[in-house]
């Protein structure tokens, strides 16, 4: 489990991060106050620390929580400074399409974005991302969450969706373990949401490789 996370942490080719940052993963999580950005951040931070890795996450509190833009930064391994510089994040998780777009500048060349959107991103943005060797994946996480019973688990749906991709190397088992042990409230629905998100991604990946 541990090894798998570390394996995925090597910066990909073309990244600006130097060799001294091996074994480091940087995630920017963007959304709107009330969408559970902090919960998503904590889920990933706990999962990383459960794997014996060092992690630090900078959260947004206070006024921005009242429906404003909320951005968290999570760093696994490396120097434990709390903030991520633009152009160096391995992953952007977007709980809101527009906030995700705004945060794409954090993504390094070759990074990956996972975005909650009902209708994709803009084609011009997709073109720019492609030029940088960056992959943006989207799914209607809010609608998926509503179908499961509550819009509040859209954040976990998105994490489940991302976790099926090699660029987001959080093992499913440690995410599940974290949901069960560290955030037991509402765990049944959260675990369902995690599985559902992952299923959707695996389905897409299977179709892509089949075609």
């Amino acid at each position: 489990m541990h090894r798998r996370l570390l394996q995925g942490l090597h910066p990909s080719e073309g990244a600006r991060v130097s060799a001294s940052d091996l074994g480091e993963l940087r995630v920017v999580i963007a959304g709107i106050g009330g969408q559970g950005v902090i919960f998503a951040t904590r889920l990933l931070t706990y999962a990383a620390i459960r794997l014996g890795l060092q992690a630090i996450a900078a959260e947004s509190h206070g006024m921005s929580q009242r429906g404003g833009s909320v951005v968290s930064h999570l760093k696994v391994g490396g120097i434990q400074s709390p903030l991520i510089r633009r152009g160096t994040a391995d992953v952007v998780l977007g709980l809101d399409r527009n906030e995700a777009l705004r945060s794409l500048v954090y993504l390094k060349a070759g990074g990956a974005a996972f975005i909650n959107s009902d209708d994709g991103l803009s084609s011009e943005v997709e073109r720019q991302l492609k030029r940088r060797g960056t992959h943006a994946h989207w799914l209607p996480a809010s609608q998926t969450a509503i179908d499961l019973g509550s819009v509040t688990v859209a954040n976990v749906v998105l994490i489940g969706f991302a976790s099926a991709h090699p660029s987001f190397p959080f093992p499913q088992e440690s995410l599940q373990e974290t949901l069960r042990v560290d955030t037991p409230r509402g765990q049944d629905l959260n675990l369902q949401a995690l599985d559902r998100g992952r299923e959707i991604a695996l389905g897409e990946l299977a179709r892509a490789s089949g075609g």
């Binding site: 620390i49 947004s60 509190h61 404003g68 434990q80 400074s81 510089r85 500048v105 720019q128």
Partner: protein, 623 residues
């Protein structure tokens, strides 16, 4: 060895409990609010008896904790940086009188600012008050500095300051904690001993205390020069460029240098005041150029004995305002290293991507009152009643966001709604102008700092309407109980709950009404009567208490009586509701043709029915 995953604030709370703090007080304020919560959590986990309280304001909090220290117990007080302004009176005085049990004042600074009215630097307050400061770079270091701060406080009988910033307070980190509790024997027996030389020092004695204080600081500076909290990283580097860094900027600088692929000496300062000047001089002496990185202002830089070749916030080499983000630090370091002949290419963003995203013209998301917030109902009714000509002094809390509804025209600091209304009335009276003055303040803020200006306004004969938005909690900072609550900070029953109507009447206000702003017609009628009272021959200040629990804190009444609404087919997208009522659940279509209810965020409060004067928003049952 166990690992605890804690926010910086919780780590400070853990540190306080571990180190035998017996009295911990605070007034909530971002980014400090989880410090007391961390004490409460860990006093339970570690089974320690600690008196914890959300005091009515920071001055009260400071003095309650100080008194405990004067009996010999360890005590601490936490607040946000502007809260230290409120507590500055006892801060300055107690630096002279000194303390007995270890005493730590913990103001959380907010570079940015993210959630504050200023970027003031509490370390400069400490410098002015002559109180030594510990400046942590991480949650882990914040916890460990508690020990050093208590020990220094007891050794020198002096208040000490532990000064975290937002990125320490609100960073989550895994912290290795020993299972065994430390046993350095914090005082457990306490007794107040009369000590007129310190506790009731008169001005002549205060002069002597000032001399003593200066001597303490001289010794503390020498102590800090040898402290392991100040150290040189990469001391073996032959670089002639060096850094002095404290707080989060130290970690950010390490990261930036790693990304630039450069190794230069960094003097990490954990104790910025009194600055260990000998240590700093030695460091600077071997270098041609030194950059000082600190937040939010210049405290180390201000104390530096030699300025040649030293650059920082004061000369503008480092921006004089704002957070030292990785982008800012990288740019500053790239410039310094380039000037010194290093071959570094400064990291750049992808301008093409940024341009593309800018061109999308994404809607900006300012903070807004929540769907179902009773403040919105109150502000909407006030605007309909008094219109744009009235002046609306506001205050600090969620309801500051009333400015989005143009129902808040001023905010200065805690309690200023009342005194600003008073002053606006007095100024208007002098020039014969009589615009309605409709002030608003929250329940916790009223108890914090609104009562004293209300006594003043009544006494001087000011005439205005004061709306006390009583949502039964301190909502913006995370639902801390106010003095009106029946329970204390740790859940123990309150001895007696304060009554805002009684307090208002006791200030001499004749017109006091309590009403639910959800009943908008009644609420409008009452504020109309209140305004008439301010205009009547014997009238004065009129107070209306808009009484409705915060919808997040207590959603029960809405859940029990939901009023789902629909926007009818006739909606023409006139934007009146989206601008004047400004509920996040009312969404204008991108082609502006009409408004829809966002079912994902709507809480079924039904309050927007009044927000469409054309009658196009209806209860679902009628539609």
């Amino acid at each position: 060895m166990a690992v605890k995953i804690l926010l910086g604030n919780e780590a400070i709370g853990l540190g306080l409990v571990e180190q035998g703090c017996r009295v911990a007080t605070a007034y909530p304020g971002t980014p400090s609010s989880e410090i007391l919560a961390g004490v409460i959590k860990h006093k339970g986990l570690l089974e320690r008896e600690v008196h914890t309280e959300w005091s009515t304001n920071e001055k009260v909090a400071y003095e309650v904790a100080l008194a405990a220290s004067w009996t010999g117990l360890r005590a601490a007080v936490a607040m946000k940086q502007v809260g230290l302004n409120v507590a500055s009176d006892p801060l300055f005085s107690s630096a002279y009188t000194g303390v007995k049990g270890g005493f730590i004042v913990i103001p959380a600074d907010d570079p940015g600012p993210q959630s504050s009215q200023t970027e003031q630097d509490s370390r400069l307050m400490a410098l002015n008050a002559k109180v030594p400061v510990f400046d942590p770079s991480s949650p882990e270091e914040a916890r460990s500095m508690v020990q050093a701060a208590f020990a220094l406080s007891e050794e020198f009988s002096i208040p000490t300051m532990l000064r975290p910033t937002t990125r320490v307070c609100h960073s989550l980190q895994g912290i290795a904690v020993d299972d065994a509790l430390p046993t350095d024997g914090p005082p457990t027996k306490a007794r107040f001993k009369k000590d007129p030389v310190h506790w009731t020092a008169t001005p002549k004695l205060r002069y002597r205390l000032h001399i003593e204080l200066n001597e303490k600081l001289r010794q503390i500076e020498a102590r800090f020069a040898a402290s392991e909290l100040n150290y040189i990283l990469h001391g073996d580097s032959s670089s002639k460029v060096g850094l002095i860094a404290s707080g989060v900027a130290f970690e950010t600088a390490r990261q930036a240098l790693a990304e630039l692929g450069v190794r230069i000496p960094i003097l990490k300062i954990g104790t910025p005041y009194p600055l260990p000047r000998r240590l700093v001089s030695q460091f600077i002496r071997g270098l041609d150029m030194v950059v000082v990185l600190e937040e939010p202002d210049a405290c180390i830089e201000l104390q530096l004995p030699e300025q040649i070749g030293v650059y920082g916030r004061r000369d503008g080499f480092v921006p004089g305002a704002g957070e030292l983000s990785p982008e800012v630090v990288s740019a500053v370091l790239a410039e310094a290293l380039g000037a010194a002949g290093f071959d570094v290419s400064p990291p750049t963003d992808d301008p093409a991507l940024q341009t593309t995203i800018d061109a999308l013209d994404l809607p900006i998301r300012p903070p807004r009152l929540c769907p179902g917030c009773s403040h919105r109902s109150a502000f909407f009714a006030l605007k309909r009643e008094f219109g744009p000509r009235a002046i609306y002094p506001g205050d600090i809390g969620c309801y500051t966001l009333g400015t989005n509804l143009r129902a808040v025209d001023t905010f200065v600091d805690m309690g200023a709604a009342v005194s600003m209304a008073d002053g606006l009335y007095q100024a208007g009276r002098l020039v014969g102008e009589s615009r309605p003055i409709i002030a608003s303040i929250g329940d916790s803020t009223f108890i914090h700092s609104g009562i004293v200006p209300l006594i003043n306004a009544v006494h001087t004969g000011a005439r205005f309407v004061l709306i006390i938005l009583d949502n039964h909690t301190t909502a913006m900072t995370g639902f801390q109980p106010t003095a009106e609550a029946s329970a204390l900070a740790d859940g123990a029953p309150a001895a007696r709950a304060a009554s805002i109507p009684d307090l208002v009447r006791a200030c001499g206000v004749d017109f006091v009404e309590v009403t639910d702003p959800y009943s908008q017609e009644t609420f409008r009628q009452i504020v109309r009567n209140a305004y008439e009272h301010t205009q009547s021959p014997g009238g004065g200040v009129a107070v209306v208490i808009a009484d409705r629990p915060c919808v997040l804190y207590d959603p029960v009444s809405i859940q029990e009586h939901p009023i789902p609404v629909v926007v009818t087919e006739e909606c023409d997208g006139c934007r009146f509701c989206t601008e004047a009522f400004e509920c996040p659940a009312l969404v204008l279509r991108s082609d502006s043709s009409r408004v829809d209810i966002d079912e994902r965020t709507c809480v079924d409060c039904g309050q927007c029915i009044d927000a469409c004067y054309k009658g196009f928003i209806l209860p679902k049952v009628l539609a």
